[in-house]
């Protein structure tokens, strides 16, 4: 029977506001959680897939020991596709000519991701596509010139002879490093044994390549982790480009925005549920007087909440999923091979958020409702229920819990929560001060102004919570707006239009003049020349690096060092480099500046002496500085920079870079013909990729800003609604006492304008403080004041609060006095 009563009351209640406010708040919470986590996952997955293409696999296990069939078997049992490759440096002989090359031997299924493109030709621009076959080698284009041979000729590798079958046009997991290295050769894995190159102690890199769906990959990785040997390690998949950094910042930002959205939505739900309960106190007392038990009351009102929760959950999840689909579609637009994986995680997170919000913010006031004493039926309904301290505690804990759940970062969640709590405290104190200050100001004002100020004082005093939520809502909207601008600006600065997109490597001293002429003739702006000498780090403080292969192997990234380091000498600290310890190379001789990560891995400290072997000659240098390098910048970066006195005498090659418009790429072919030994490395792909991400994330950010603004608006609506009854009573009395419409309107508008200005001002101060903290701590941006904020905040506060207040209360002003009085008397 209670169900039919509950159902009937529910339908009638829908026509009043609070249930919708609760529903919309929960909808926003669910929708934002689902869409944000889904979008983040989608963008991340797109980037992982891109980086998988650059790694030729979803996961790569590297080993210094021969392939273990058990690993391959385990991967295949997990439903993964597998491939293997070996990589080693070896001499190639073509008659009397020899050349050191990096040989990559691949199995049939290579590559698992991305595409390997080989052509039956010495020129990448012509010839048929072919697949690597046993008995054949494929060369990087410059190797044909270096060995002075052509397609079809025979070369010796180890003790075996091979036919050179063609040229490598595209190798998915080729080093993106602007340094290049030795020319590259691809062969079939089955031929390696015949070369007899693999001997005990040979330096061979073995790689297991895996591809498959995320679940299978994760489960395989977990199983493998427990049995990894000291020789095996997973390859880092996404550190090599600017993308990793851009995405990490975007993820943090989305996370932050998501948290703020949830906090706001939870506030709106709590306010609306509080008012719902307050308005139903008398109805509950009546029903109880008529014989209802507490359990029946809880069933009746609990079912209302449950219906609202289910409705919001369904709509929120649907809307969130639609947003995710839209983003998948958008990503697919930029990235043709994108495989959108469906994930339950966003939906699960959304459900959990909804239930936590509903239980800890909305259910508590409704639960308390059942405790209303039946005797209340004989009393006047209270205008304001006393503050529920337990609700405050539960609510606060729930907000923190959600922050933790959503971010997965304990420190961030505690920090953000404490900041919010501190802000609430500051606002409370600020409100108290303003209320005191407003009293003397009110004296001597016109009566409408006096009424507005009096109203403001009384309500502020009685319910400072309102000012806090207004301020918090405006604060969050402002914070998000400015952070968004900050973030997009920073990304755009990172790759400004016209950044070098073509790098030239292996330029000899003589070729510099030719290149200079070519650049002048074609109106190209060449960048700085970086000299490069390849050398080996042999000792640290007289300690010979016997295990140098292992140590270097660990640092070997595609942008990183190989077995030989690229050494340069510079007198000035390059851009994107920052000395973190010691001093940049000063006038003293024989110094070296070491990049901080490699310094840490090799345990190199200031004052250590490093010994290098360059072309058989030994030299040593003292570490005078440790540098932090921005690997995200598309600039040549060096692990070791030596003082000019050490290297200037060695024969060096040079690296330089220039910007080439997309429509002039034909010039690269001319350049290749002019200087065949110079490698051209185009980073256009990376730049385009980063720009794509910026475009996508910008759309996502605007979407989040919209969600936050909606949530903030909802909090304002819930708050104004919560004072509706009290306002009705006051208006009825004022009307009865003869107050005219213009007087009441002016008083109301003034009250909301002042309230909005106050909330806007508080919000501005807090937003500026928070921006400065977040700017430095989270985004690592320089300290900078936001002048626009100082007018936008108060203006936004005034306009928003006044418009929303007026929108909700204007009807109340138009009700004739007698009718209003009757409404108030009838409750």
């Amino acid at each position: 029977m209670w169900a039919s009563i509950a159902w009937r009351l529910f339908w009638r209640e829908l026509s009043r506001g609070e249930l919708w406010v609760i529903a919309f708040a929960l909808f926003l919470a669910v929708g934002s959680v689902v869409s944000l986590s889904g979008i983040t996952e989608g963008v991340k997955s797109a980037l992982m897939q891109r980086s998988a293409q650059f790694n030729a696999a979803d996961k790569v296990l590297r080993s210094s020991q021969p392939f273990d069939p058990a690993v391959i078997e385990l991967a295949q049992q997990s439903g993964l596709n597998t491939a293997q490759q070996m990589q080693f440096d070896s001499m190639l002989f073509a008659g009397d000519v020899m050349q050191l090359a990096t040989i990559k031997a691949v199995s049939d299924s290579y590559p698992l991701r991305g595409s390997l493109q080989l052509k039956r030709s010495a020129n990448p621009a012509t010839g048929d596509d072919v697949q690597p076959e046993p008995g054949q080698l494929y060369f990087e284009a410059r190797l044909f010139d270096l060995l002075n041979i052509g397609v079809g000729d025979t070369v010796e590798l180890g003790v075996a002879r091979f036919i050179v079958a063609g040229v490598i046009v595209n190798e998915p997991d080729a080093p993106l490093s602007v340094f290049g290295g030795a020319p590259r050769v691809i062969m079939h894995l089955a031929d390696v044994a015949a070369t007899q190159i693999v001997q005990p102690g040979s330096r061979i890199g073995y790689r297991y390549l895996f591809a498959g769906n995320n679940a299978a990959l994760d489960s395989f990785e977990q199983q493998m982790n427990s049995q990894l040997t000291v020789h095996q390690r997973w390859q880092d998949m996404d550190r090599e480009s600017a993308i990793g950094g851009a995405l990490e910042r975007a993820e943090r930002f989305l996370l932050l925005a998501g948290l703020l959205g949830i906090v706001l939505a939870a506030c709106a739900a709590a306010v609306a549920a509080g008012r719902y309960s307050q308005r139903h106190t008398q109805a509950v007392a009546i029903i109880k007087a008529l014989g209802a038990t507490r359990a029946q009351i809880r069933l009746i009102y609990g079912s209302h909440l449950l219906l609202v929760v289910l409705f919001s959950l369904l709509c929120g999840a649907l809307a969130g999923q639609l947003a995710i689909e839209a983003v998948h579609w958008g990503i697919g637009f930029y990235f043709a091979d994108y495989r959108a994986d469906f994930s339950w995680r966003p939906l699960w997170l959304g459900c959990l958020t909804c239930f936590v919000c509903a239980l800890l913010f909305a259910a508590r006031p409704m639960w308390r409702l059942a405790n209303t004493a039946a005797i209340e039926v004989l009393k006047q309904p209270a205008v304001n229920l006393p503050l529920d301290k337990l609700q405050l505690l539960f609510g606060s804990l729930a907000i923190w819990g959600l922050m933790w759940l959503f971010s997965g970062e304990l420190v961030l969640s505690i920090g953000l929560f404490l900041l919010c709590a501190a802000f609430a405290g500051i606002l409370l104190a600020g409100a108290a001060l303003l209320v005191r200050f407003a009293k003397p100001v009110a004296a001597g004002q016109s009566s409408a102004r006096r009424l507005a100020l009096a109203n403001l004082r009384r309500r502020l005093w009685a319910n400072s919570f309102q000012l806090i939520t207004f301020s918090l809502a405006i604060f969050l909207a402002l914070l998000l707006y400015f952070l968004r601008a900050e973030l997009i600006g920073q990304w755009q600065r990172q790759i400004p239009p016209g950044s070098p997109n073509q790098f030239l490597v292996n330029i000899t001293e003589q070729q510099r003049t030719v290149l200079q002429d070519f650049a002048a003739a074609n109106n190209l702006q060449l960048g700085r020349y970086y000299p490069v000498v390849r050398g080996r780090l042999t000792a640290i403080n007289d300690e010979q690096l016997l295990q140098e292969a292992t140590k270097e192997d660990r640092t070997e990234q595609r942008v990183g060092v190989g077995r030989e380091l690229n050494l340069t000498w510079l007198s000035e600290l390059p851009d994107n480099n920052q000395v973190t310890a010691g001093n940049w190379l000063n006038t003293d001789k024989a110094q070296v500046s070491v990049e901080e990560e490699i310094a840490q891995r090799l345990d190199v400290k200031l004052g250590d002496t490093l010994a290098f072997s360059i072309g058989g000659q030994q030299l040593s240098a003292t570490v005078s500085s440790i540098r932090k390098v921005d690997w995200n910048s598309l600039q040549p970066n060096f692990y070791m920079i030596l003082s000019p006195d050490l290297l200037a005498e060695f024969p060096a090659t040079y690296i330089t870079a220039f910007y080439l418009e997309p429509e002039r790429t034909m010039l690269l072919n001319q350049l290749a013909r002019l200087m065949p030994t110079v490698s051209v490395i185009s980073v256009d792909n990376i730049i385009n990729q980063v720009n794509d991400i910026i475009a996508q994330v910008t759309i996502a950010l605007s979407f989040i800003l919209l969600i936050i603004c909606l949530a903030a608006g909802l909090v304002l609506v819930a708050q104004v609604q919560a004072t509706l009854e009290q306002r009705e009573q006051e208006l009825a009395i004022l009307r009865t006492l003869g107050a005219q419409y213009p007087f009441l309107r002016n008083a109301l508008l003034l009250e909301f304008t002042l309230l909005g200005a106050m909330a806007g001002l508080f919000a501005t101060i807090l937003a500026e403080a928070m921006l400065l903290i977040v700017q430095q701590r989270v985004f690592e941006l320089p300290f900078q004041l936001h002048y626009n904020l100082w007018w936008m905040g108060p203006v936004m506060g005034m306009v928003l609060v006044t418009a929303l207040g007026w929108w909700q209360l204007r009807r109340l002003l138009q009700i004739p006095g007698a009718q209003l009085m009757r409404k108030v008397l009838q409750g």
Partner: protein
């Protein structure tokens, strides 16, 4: 009977089990209310007690019929609707069964409240100033209706009022002052109108 603040409503709330005394004992229909939990007292109210309040106290979200049937539905009475319609017929509001309280006049709302009070055939009916919020003529009609239904259903009616005429229609009049009884007049049944 008694003046404002004399303790009439407090006494009524104690008698009906809406509240419990800080000291003393209250028995209703043989049950010791002061020893019962809130939900046990609610069960007694559901089975043995009816209420008519001064300010009607109908649920604005329910129609006249739904307001009348509410106590019966809480007690899981399957005949609630038929009984509710019959009672609305008796109070002359059968045509307004689907009206909401806001669409009814004060007198009509109180008639709905009376119908609601009788739907569970309570042993005791408590009425708190049932005609105080109504004009004299309507008040008179409401009182007549209350006494008629009371007599038809054989209910014990306990009325709180400061209206001497209304009090005069009761079998026993207890007068209160500052929380204490100051007089107790019992009339013959023949005198009660």
């Amino acid at each position: 009977m008694g003046a404002s603040g004399s303790g009439k409503s407090t006494l009524l709330s104690l008698l009906a089990g809406l509240d419990i005394p800080t000291s003393g004992e209250v028995y209703l229909a043989g049950k010791a209310l002061h020893n019962l939990t809130e939900d046990q007292r609610a069960a007694i109210r559901a089975s043995d007690v009816g209420f008519v309040f001064q300010s009607f106290l109908l649920l604005p979200g329910l129609t006249a019929l739904e307001n009348v049937t509410l106590p019966a539905e809480l007690a899981a009475d399957k005949q609630a609707k038929q009984r509710g319609l019959a009672l609305l017929q008796q109070v002359g509001l059968a045509e307004r069964a689907d009206f909401y309280p806001a669409q009814l006049s004060g007198g009509e709302q109180q008639r709905v409240a009376i119908a609601r009070a009788f739907i569970t055939s309570p042993a005791v009916l408590f009425a708190d100033e049932p005609s105080a919020n109504l004009d004299a003529a309507t008040g008179q009609k409401i009182e007549d209706l209350l006494f008629k239904l009371n007599s038809d259903q054989g209910t014990t009616l306990i009325l709180v009022t400061h209206n001497n005429d209304l009090a005069a229609r009761c079998q026993r009049q207890l007068r209160m002052q500052a929380g204490r009884f100051v007089s107790d007049d019992v009339k013959d049944m023949a005198d009660v109108g």
